[in-house]
Amino acid sequence: MAEPVEITANVGTPDLQAEPMLINIGPSHPATHATLRFRATLDGETILDLVPEFGYLHRGFEKESEAATWTQVVPYTDRLNYVSPLMNNVGYAMAVEKLCGIEITERCKYVRVIISELSRIIDHMVCVGTNMVDLGALTNFWYFWKPREEVYFLIEELCGQRLTTSYTRIGGAMADLPEGWTDRVLAVCRGVIPECIADVNALLTKNRIFIERTMGVGPISAKDAVSLGFTGPCLRAAGVPLDLRKDEPYLVYDRFDFDVCIGEAGDTCDRYLVRMEEMRQSLRIIEQAVAQLPGGPINIDDPRFILPGKPQVYENIEALMNHFKFIMEGVKVPAGEVYSATEAANGELGFYIVSRGGGGPYKIKVRPPCFPLFQGIPHLVKGQMIADLIATLGSVNIIAGELDR
């Protein structure tokens, strides 16, 4: 038999001669931010045991996908992590393209990098902002709302939607960048975002109340984080420099100069610091990507995967038939199975896809980064105070949309 991995459990012991109290948190509770539920066993305010429950937002993503065409799945992916939907679009498109053997155009690769990094910034802003709201620091939330709104204006301009973006297509994107869009991206990245990050940084990072409230709260060791399957900022905060953008460079991430930031204690404070620094690194990537952005087409030139242009559809019968077959039957993807992973804002976002040929997937399994993180919450907070659960939960950034699928 296999040697079990030892997890060092911080299990609290009752210090009062009293019965432990069972308390229910959620599923509709302001501090859970999503429909999550905890059953906490408390001794006074100390957490003895914690059982997380979820599934309230389960909407059958994987079942629905099996009845959809490859392109129809793209809108479903928006609803996974709805704080950074563009990244899900990119992750899904990359998985299908791997199965088809498509090499997307240079321009498309850069565009995908830019939209991914913009999404990472707003995702981290929501995480840090709401985490601080839970701890009573409402100002930071509003300071981050302004740049987030500016980024949403950019996204709206890009694809017509703020939240349900559905921007990517198999082999490219819905449309090329609007005129002058990259200038406006740079204006936001230079003029709005750094200032807000600096404001929040000034309010929090050396703030004694903040430090005492977060340092040592919800810690995890590197070894435990790995064996629990943590990825993303929560793993890096524990001191493990795993970042797929560096370790398995996809798109064109190997052409940019950026740093992977890590923490030490894996506590709430480190997770905050890692996220703050990652936003700055994302800005660096965007600057370089915009500077290197090549011209040329955004979609590949392959009639098997890309819809014929609208003028052709209106004017000739072949294009019209082709368009009809594309929409009704879907693009033809060869049989096989792939696993494709990208570094999303919360960690590794993986898509395992099984195709048996034909216009739609046989099976899609999403590996949501939140899933192992949520599983690890009891390990983070056992033996700590009930108020620390709120601080930890916010800093781990659980998004019910991708957790429940």
Binding site: G55, S227, V240, Y339, G350, Y362
Partner: protein, 158 residues
């Protein structure tokens, strides 16, 4: 053949049914009987060190025999490698040993595979439904479960 699959074949010649590296993903189909030994070997072998269990899921190949497949996706932090391990389970006995002793983090993935496909993980510490509620009947991701089927929605039981 990649080093991972080579090492695996060398160590478990009778257990590895087939291997492929289609689309660049190293994949091994193994027999289910010694799955825990195989996974522990992949975790502990100094040349492999698959310390991350990234994903686990089931697949329902309705109409084929054996019908179900359990798919593990592993990642090695040190070697920066990935591997996919698969095992087939027959319809009348969809049982496989749990991998929780190898990676504690695989716990919920196994619960999800039980919930969605009815795959039983023998020795699992808490094999309960995870996304659906306890009173839910059937396993929704099985191919013979109708997509439009409705069941009464009720809360979880204590």
């Amino acid at each position: 053949m990649s080093i991972v699959l080579e090492r695996l074949r060398e160590r478990f010649p009778a257990e590895v049914v087939s291997t492929h590296s289609d689309f660049g993903d190293d994949t091994a189909l193994v027999r289910r009987e010694r799955i825990v030994e195989i996974l522990a070997f992949l975790r502990d072998d100094p040349e492999l060190r698959f310390d991350f269990a990234m994903d686990l899921t089931g697949v329902d190949y309705l109409g084929e025999e054996p019908r179900f497949e359990v798919v593990y996706h592993l990642y090695s932090l040190e070697k920066k490698r990935r591997v996919r391990i698969k095992a087939r389970l027959p319809e009348d006995d969809p049982v496989i040993d749990t991998a929780v002793p190898v990676w504690p983090g695989i716990d919920w993935y196994e619960r999800e595979a039980w919930d969605m496909y009815g795959i039983v993980f023998r020795g699992h510490p808490n094999l309960k439904r995870i996304l659906m509620y306890e009173a839910f009947e059937g396993h929704p991701l099985r191919k013979d479960y109708p997509k439009a089927k409705r069941q009464p929605t009720i809360g979880p039981e204590e």
